[in-house]
Symmetry: C2
Subunit: 436 residues, 2 copies
C-alpha cells in the first residue's frame, strides 16, 4: 500500500476513516496556497473537498487551479483540515492541466457571475458546489417521486416525444421534420398516459422531457423541461388525485431532506412541510378572497401571477406552508379532456397546486366517455377524426381516471429558492438559448 | 362491509387473502360464460385475473367483453377458480361499456394479429398479458440499471434533446424548427454526459430518448429509442468500463428475474447468465475467427449483422452465454471522441457488447486532451469551432473518462426473445410510423 500503483482511490469525504493509511485522492485543484516550503492544496472531487500537503520538490512545481490530479500519500489526522484529516503527499500526477483562463473564479464561496454567464459556461459553473447542488437535489426529488409511486403500484413508462398532433390542438409546438412527414415535439405525455391507463396498466407515471414553444422568456419557463407525469385509473373524483399528490409530495420532500441534507444546508434551504390535508379552494372563491382581502379584481378563470402569489400568502402563516390546491376551474380555461363537474355546470373536476406563489401542478379527472370526449373536441373546434388513435381505447372500455403533472425544474427551483427554473436544468433551453 | 360503497377495492392477485370477506373488484371483463342460471366472468385488472360468479338478475344482463366494471361480493374459496378463490357478486356496476367492435380478439392465450395491426391498435393490444409484459420487464430492467448505478455513486441527469449540432457531424438527424433557429433532435447524450463528468459529478447516467433518422426499417431499429447512458471519470482504460458493464448487467438481470418473474414465465423467457468475466475479443481477431471457423470473409472494421450472430454463436455453448465484448475498433469506424490506443496505431480503446447475436452497447474511453480532440475533429473534416461549448470544459481540467450506452428496447426484446425492438416500445416510432 505504499505506491500510487497499488493504492485504491478514496473519496474526499471518507478521508478521516483512513488515518494512518496510504491512499490516493483524485480530483480538481480547487486552490493551492504556498507557505514556507509547503503547499496546501484543496482538492475537490464528487464527494467534497480534502486538504493535501505537498513538500519539497512536489511543493515547488506550479499547480494551476482546476488541474485534474491524482495524489498519493499518508492520511494524517489534523483538526485544522476540512474533515479532520489531510493527505501528506508522496506522489502527485497531473492528469489534465487547464489550457485556458477560466471564464470566472470558481473557488469562491459564492459565484460572482451573472446567470447568463453561468449558463454560457454551464459545465464549468456546475463545478461550484452551490450551482451543482441543484442537479443533485433534483435527482433526489425525482428518485423520491419514483420510489413513492412504484410503492403504490404505478408502472414507469416512456411515451413518444415525436407526435403527429398537439395535445391541445396546435399552439406552442416545435415542428419536426420526420422523414417526409411533418411532426411536432410533445407538449406533454397527456394523451399517451391516458391510453396506457386504458391499456390495462391502470397506474402509470413518466419522467420525461416536454416541450413548449412559448414566446415569452420568463424565469419560470423553459422550452424543454422535465415533466413528472402521473395518471391513475379507477378514481372516484379529483379528490383522490389531490390526496395522492399530497402523500407523494410529502414522500418526495422527506426523501430530499434525507438524501440531500448537505445540499440543502449549503443553500440554506428547507423542504416545505406538507400538511395532512392541503387546503382546497375553488377558483371562484380564490377570486373572491383576492377581491375582499387584497382589493385585487381579476377576470374569471385562471389566477394570474400576482393572484397565485397572494393566494399562497393568504393560506400561509401560523406554521402553515404556502401550499394550496385551487380547484373547479371553468371548462373554458382547461383542456378538452377535463371532466365536467356534474353538479356545477361550466366547471370541471380540475385543480392546480400552488407552492410558494407559483403553480407547480395541473391536474384533474379526465372524461372517460368517448362520446362526451368527441363533443368536447367539437365544442373547441377540434376535429375528433384527428384524435381517432386516442379515442379508440375509450371506445373499448375506459375506466374513470385522472392525473397530474409536476414541472421538475420549477419545483426544484422553488424548493431551493433559486429564483429561476433555468438554474435547475443541466443545460437549459429557452426562447434564445440553444447552446451549450 | 356489505355494500359496494363501503368496501375497498382489492386486486385480483390478492383475492384469496380475503376469503369470507365482502370486497370490490374493478377491471375489464375478459370473458363472460353463461352456464345454467349463472354467469362466470373472468375479470382482468393490473395485477392479473379473477373469477366472478353472477346469478339471478345479475347473470341475466348482457355483459360485453372489455366492459369496465366494479363488482362487489363475498370471496369464497374455490379450487377450480384461478388463484383458488372467486367473488360471488351481490352488485355489479358497468363503469364503461365498449361502443365499438374490438380490432382483434384480446382474450385468447396468444394474440392472432400481425405486428402491424398490434402497433396500429397499440393501447388495446397492450391489454394482452403477453404483449403488455414487455413494458413491465423493460421497467424492471431500467429500475435495475438505476439501482445499481446509484449504488456506485452515479448521479442521474437529464440533458437536452434539442441540440444545435449533431454528435457525429450531421447524418441521420431529425431537424427541428426552434423559434428562428434550426436545431436537431439529439442522437445521444454523448457530449453532454462527458461535459457533466467534467462538471465535477464524475459519474453520471441518463435514461432518456434518443433519435436516429435512419432510412432503413429493420426489426432492430427505432427512430426514437430509450438510451441507457453511462459516463465515468477517472478510469484507467476501457477495461474498467467493461468490468462496470458486466456487473451492471448482472445486477439488472437479477433484478428482472426477481421483479418480473411472472412476465418471464408467461413468455417462457429467462434472463441471460452473466459470467464473472465476459470474453473480450479484439475485432481483428473476430474477423480472423469468422474467416477460419465460418469461412466468412468480411471487410475490416465493424462486424456485419451475420458476423455478430456468428461470433455470439462461437463464444456460446457448454453453458457459456452468447455474450461477448468486441474490442479495439479501428479509429475509422468509431466517433471522433474515441481514445486512440497508444500501443496500437490506428486502433481505439472502444468496445461493443454483443448479446444473442446483436450489438446492445457501444462504449469506450474518450479523448480527454482538448488538443487531441481538436485534431481528431479536423481529421474527420469537422470544424472544432462548432464544438467550442463542448471543448471548453476539456480546456479547464478534464479527467480521463469513458462510458457506454445500452439501447433499452433492443435489450428488452433480446431478453424476452421478441424478435422486434418495436414490441418493447409503448408507442414505437419508425421510418413510417408516427401514430398512435
Amino acid at each position: 500500500m505504499s505506491s500510487s500503483l497499488t493504492t485504491t482511490r478514496v473519496l474526499a469525504r471518507d478521508l478521516a476513516r483512513h488515518t494512518g493509511q496510504t491512499v490516493t485522492l483524485k480530483g480538481w485543484v480547487q486552490s493551492c496556497r504556498h507557505l514556507g516550503g509547503l503547499a496546501f492544496v484543496i482538492l475537490r472531487d464528487r464527494s467534497g473537498v480534502a486538504q493535501v500537503v505537498l513538500e519539497g520538490e512536489l511543493a515547488a512545481r506550479p499547480l494551476p487551479e482546476e488541474a485534474v490530479v491524482a495524489v498519493t500519500g499518508e492520511v494524517a489526522a489534523d483538526p485544522r483540515a476540512v474533515g479532520g484529516a489531510e493527505v501528506r503527499a508522496s506522489a502527485l500526477e497531473v492528469l489534465s492541466a487547464p489550457t485556458r483562463v477560466p471564464p470566472f473564479e470558481i473557488n469562491k464561496k459564492t459565484l460572482k457571475a451573472s446567470l447568463e454567464t453561468i449558463l454560457e459556461h454551464r459545465a464549468f459553473a456546475l463545478r461550484h458546489p452551490r450551482i451543482g447542488a441543484a442537479l443533485r437535489v433534483q435527482a433526489a426529488l425525482i428518485e423520491g417521486f419514483r420510489n413513492y409511486l412504484a410503492g403504490q403500484g404505478f408502472l414507469e413508462v416512456r411515451t413518444p416525444k415525436i407526435v403527429a398532433t398537439g395535445t391541445e390542438g396546435g399552439a406552442n409546438l416545435f415542428p419536426v421534420q420526420y422523414f417526409e412527414q411533418r411532426a411536432f415535439l410533445a407538449q406533454s405525455p397527456q394523451l399517451y398516459k391516458q391510453m396506457l391507463v386504458g391499456a390495462g396498466y391502470e397506474r402509470v407515471f413518466e419522467v420525461g422531457p416536454a416541450y413548449r414553444a412559448e414566446d415569452h422568456n420568463t424565469s419560470r419557463h423553459l422550452s424543454e423541461f422535465t415533466s413528472l407525469d402521473v395518471e391513475m385509473g379507477f378514481i372516484d373524483s379529483e379528490e383522490d388525485l389531490m390526496d395522492l399528490e399530497t402523500e407523494l409530495l410529502r414522500s418526495m420532500f422527506a426523501h430530499v431532506a434525507e438524501r440531500s441534507a448537505a445540499e440543502l444546508d449549503l443553500l440554506g434551504a428547507r423542504v416545505p412541510e406538507v400538511p395532512g390535508r392541503i387546503e382546497r379552494i375553488p377558483v371562484h372563491e380564490a377570486h373572491e378572497i383576492l377581491r375582499r382581502r387584497y382589493r385585487k379584481v381579476s377576470p374569471e378563470g385562471d389566477l394570474d401571477t400576482e393572484g397565485e402569489r397572494l393566494i399562497c400568502q393568504y393560506v400561509a402563516g401560523e406554521g402553515r406552508p404556502p401550499l394550496v390546491f385551487i380547484t373547479r376551474y371553468p371548462a373554458s380555461v382547461r383542456p378538452f379532456y377535463s371532466f365536467p363537474d356534474p353538479d356545477r355546470p361550466g366547471l370541471t373536476r380540475t385543480f392546480d397546486l400552488l407552492l410558494a406563489g407559483q403553480e407547480i401542478t395541473s391536474g384533474g379527472q379526465r372524461i372517460h366517455d368517448p362520446e362526451v370526449l368527441r363533443e368536447s373536441l367539437r365544442r373547441r373546434g377540434l376535429d375528433p377524426a384527428g384524435f381517432q388513435h386516442y379515442l379508440e381505447i375509450f371506445e373499448l372500455g375506459m375506466p374513470p381516471h385522472g392525473g397530474f403533472a409536476i414541472g421538475a425544474e420549477r419545483l426544484t427551483a422553488l424548493v431551493l429558492g433559486l429564483g429561476n427554473a433555468r438554474e435547475a436544468a443541466a443545460f437549459p433551453r429557452d426562447r434564445t438559448r440553444l447552446v451549450p
